[in-house]
Symmetry: C2
Subunit: 303 residues, 2 copies
Amino acid sequence: MDINSVIEQLDWHREPLGLYEPIGYTLSAGGKRLRPTLCMIGAQIFGGEEKAVLPAALALEIFHNFTLLHDDVMDKATVRRGRACVHIRWNENTAILSGDQMMIEAYKQLSQVDEKHLPHVLRLFNQMATEICEGQQYDVDFEQREDVSIADYMQMIRLKTSVLLATALRIGAYIGGANEEEQKALYEYGICIGLAFQIQDDYLDCYGDPKTFGKAIGGDIKERKKTWLWLTAQHEGGDQQELASKDYDRVINEYNRLGVPELALQQIHQLTEKGLRYLDNIPQGEATNRLRRLADQLVNRQS
Amino acid sequence: MDINSVIEQLDWHREPLGLYEPIGYTLSAGGKRLRPTLCMIGAQIFGGEEKAVLPAALALEIFHNFTLLHDDVMDKATVRRGRACVHIRWNENTAILSGDQMMIEAYKQLSQVDEKHLPHVLRLFNQMATEICEGQQYDVDFEQREDVSIADYMQMIRLKTSVLLATALRIGAYIGGANEEEQKALYEYGICIGLAFQIQDDYLDCYGDPKTFGKAIGGDIKERKKTWLWLTAQHEGGDQQELASKDYDRVINEYNRLGVPELALQQIHQLTEKGLRYLDNIPQGEATNRLRRLADQLVNRQS
């Protein structure tokens, strides 16, 4: 099943148009469709049927896009996936209300999960949704805090990014028939891969190739964001004045002097390896190998 | 069970405080607790246990308060229940994110519903949530539209206000053991009472006693809102210039000349009577009589 075409074929031509058009606009903008893909693979590993896991996979993708929509309002972002953000193309109120409706649409998809699985899936989904909001709040809080540690940062990206990937795998595995231990192994794989994914994001924002990265390089430095690279430079005793700069070259020179890019690549590698080891504890086969390749792709991606 | 004290005792002292404090602030501000009360009564009529219906009742109240929180951002309101709105006391981003988390908290409560009731309750809840968003969108759309009919307005307030009251009763009745026909009778009672409630709101905004109404009289006129009174004045052939005014006395004089207040009271009365007739089709007793008294109270309220 091509999950992307299923998503693109969802019909949003409904009244009131002002509510549903922005949802269609958001969901048709593409993206990696990583979360529903992980959910489907999670089920496949245990011989689960695609049809049984599809509603949960769609719920995860819709929820993910809802978080992007509201995050873009909060971050005052202007462009997402090469298009104007909803609050730019329409207005802020539209982004708030259509975002709310998107979250409800996610729960509507979820309500299509088989009744024998629904109670547990709903609880896993709610727990994930809460943790994503908590992660976003910590992200906001960190902007004002001067005492953010690397451990704080890892916990924040675990909540904001990893938990969604991990829960996608876990829900798929649960519906597919995995036992508790197997579900947890896949969940932990997802956590590790999510953390590696985010640090890779931080790395590419500084060291990516502008031709392939898809957005301008150095955005994090310009906004003085407390990324993994910046916090590690602090931890390595970097020069305060250099690190406080918004100048790309000055900060990058300091990162390079401290060996931060090497440390980042090492951390990404370690997290990926740790994630891959969890895959030894689940049934082997083509679906599990897809997760191995996926980990490689995420780590070696240039965008 | 005192539903108000159950709500006030929910614990929101959790990290990150920036996410949860505004939720506690919102839910401790009081209000009529009408939706959870209706849900509990709906169950009582059919001999349902309070404990079985409580999670759904809480979900409805939390969801209702979430909609107020986001609506206040969109309406740029400043005060709610005598306190600064969340986006004023904190900021807009906080109101968006804590509001999102409140919706998730509503679904968390819902997930506590007994497994045998959960799938149907979740579907009823999702349908209601969608209709409330649609109602809010129509409300926004109507500000820009010049061709809003009284029927359009009734449909909008049915979605925005009535459906929540009706679904509260219906979910309570369903959990309490009502059959489909009884659930529908209670739902229709809720729709009628909700419509009467909203028209009463419009009426009080013009003709209420400032001492008991709790907010300034004439707000709708000042904002040139297309309320039931205003649309009826249009329909009765009111003077366009007078009705286009933002001046309280001019608009009220025109309403009075056209007999609009009498028409409003008549409409409120008719809707209430219609609602009460639905109660003839369900088991009689103290709980059903409470719904009769509630209808009277809502119609005769001054605030």
